[in-house]
């Protein structure tokens, strides 16, 4: 058994038996060897369910919102991406820091359950070590810049308008509007989503390419300055739409226009589109 897993069970057992938390969220072994879905444990005798292997892909933080009015504290196992997601939820006023005990895990990357190679979201990860935690398991490493994660965006930018449009039309023609990308996303934390409105004007219910594109673009823009680059949306999309290319396009432009900003790295600095500067670039004269 790996050292992280031993430590996870030990910490979870302690927190639950001392009553410091009344549940922990981590991962357990799923039906298949390549599945490690999230686990919700409220009983200290059940901590043996917790596991740590290369398929712990699912983000844990978003589950804090499943019952927004829940009393009691949660012990949350958090890798780098989960820690940024927690900051996201704190900053957006969705959870309170004092209600979470963050058990940071220094992550070395997970494997894609199909290709068995390092998962795409982990290849592009800049902050593998949690940026916020109460307890830490493993050896912290420094953040890495990884500018190469914007390569696909830069290549697409160079193409002609017609080609770009054909590319995105082809992608969104596949969308089945399952809203998995939204449901998994820690930045998509509005309690009332535009996509769920039934009144005319917000988003049509028809399932066709134009409507799918309106959904995808509106979602991408809505989280533009708050996306923490966890890559969960692209991972869960059942039809493989490269959603991170849209997110990274926005992140890249926001960084170029308004300065370096990494959402979720702290919970204090306001997202760039929620503030302004008198010396912002002027293109609208």
């Amino acid at each position: 058994m790996n050292a992280i897993q031993i430590k996870m069970r030990e910490v979870a057992g302690q927190l639950l038996s001392l009553g410091e938390v009344d549940r922990v969220i981590g991962w357990e072994k799923g039906r298949f060897a390549h599945q490690s879905p999230p686990a919700f444990i409220t009983d200290e005798t059940k901590v043996e369910r917790l596991i740590w292997d290369e398929y712990c892909l699912t983000g844990t933080a978003k589950y804090l919102l499943d019952d927004p009015y829940r009393a009691g504290k949660t012990g949350l196992f958090a890798r780098g991406c989960d820690a940024r997601a927690i900051n996201r939820l704190i900053q957006d006023g969705q959870v309170k820091r004092e209600n979470i005990v963050i058990i940071g895990i220094c992550c070395t990357g997970m494997s894609d359950s199909v290709s068995r190679q390092m998962a795409a979201k982990c290849c592009d990860c800049t902050h593998p070590t949690p940026v916020v935690y109460d307890l830490m398991i493993g050896e912290p490493v420094k953040p890495v810049a990884k500018p190469e994660r914007f390569k696909a965006v830069a290549e697409l930018e160079q193409k002609a308008a017609q080609e770009k449009s054909e590319y995105w039309t082809r992608q969104f023609a596949k969308c089945i509007r399952c809203y998995a990308c939204r449901n998994i996303c820690p930045a998509c934390n509005c309690r009332e989503c535009f996509a769920d409105q039934y009144r005319v004007g917000w988003l049509g219910k028809q399932h066709h390419t134009a409507e799918n594109q309106v959904f995808g673009l509106t979602r991408a823009y809505h989280i533009a300055d708050r996306c923490i680059e966890c890559g969960e949306c692209a991972r869960v999309c059942p039809v493989g739409i490269p959603l991170m290319e849209l997110n990274r396009k926005l992140i890249k432009d926001i960084q170029q226009l308004f300065g370096d900003y990494h959402a979720g790295v702290d919970s204090e600095t306001a997202p760039p589109l929620g503030r302004y500067s008198l010396d912002d670039m002027e293109e609208f004269m």
Partner: protein, 144 residues
């Protein structure tokens, strides 16, 4: 009213104008008996910052060939700071639209004050000319 076909196509341009500056600017065009293209449909909004970026996406989806967002000059906003947010928002939005293949001429943002009738007329005239040259916008349209 004759149905619009490929042959007699005329662009539809949607202009979101802020109540305090650009809408008055557009009004002044009329008061001065100046002409601007009939292709422009004006939607009056309390502030340019009221324009949700989704409005732009929806406008293109529902048949607009071009969209203009017009507001007070920076420093002149009726609500002091609204247009500073507008500026950030649409600097980013403009680039996103280009990224998905909407030609840059089709979406414009401009600062037009209540006294700038000529600027309003010139801006929308130029916008309509550019869009006529580009042809109909079909990329984000329903039923493509």
């Amino acid at each position: 009213m004759a149905l619009m076909t490929e042959a007699n196509w005329e662009p539809k341009v949607l202009a979101f104008c802020c109540n305090w500056c650009s809408y008055s600017g557009a009004d002044l065009v009329g008061l001065n008996r100046m002409k601007y293209p009939e292709n422009v449909r004006i939607v009056r909004v309390p502030c340019s910052a009221r324009v949700n970026p989704q409005f732009i996406i929806r406008a293109f989806q529902r048949g607009a060939d071009g969209v203009l967002v017009a507001g007070c000059h920076p420093g002149d906003c009726h609500y002091s700071t609204g247009n500073y947010y507008t500026r950030r928002r649409f600097l980013v939005m403009k680039r996103l639209l280009e990224f998905i293949g909407i030609e840059s001429q089709r979406f414009q943002a401009r600062w037009i004050s209540g006294a700038e009738a000529v600027k309003f007329r010139d801006t929308v005239t130029k916008l309509c000319e550019d869009i006529k040259a580009l042809g109909p916008q079909r990329k984000l349209r329903d039923q493509k």
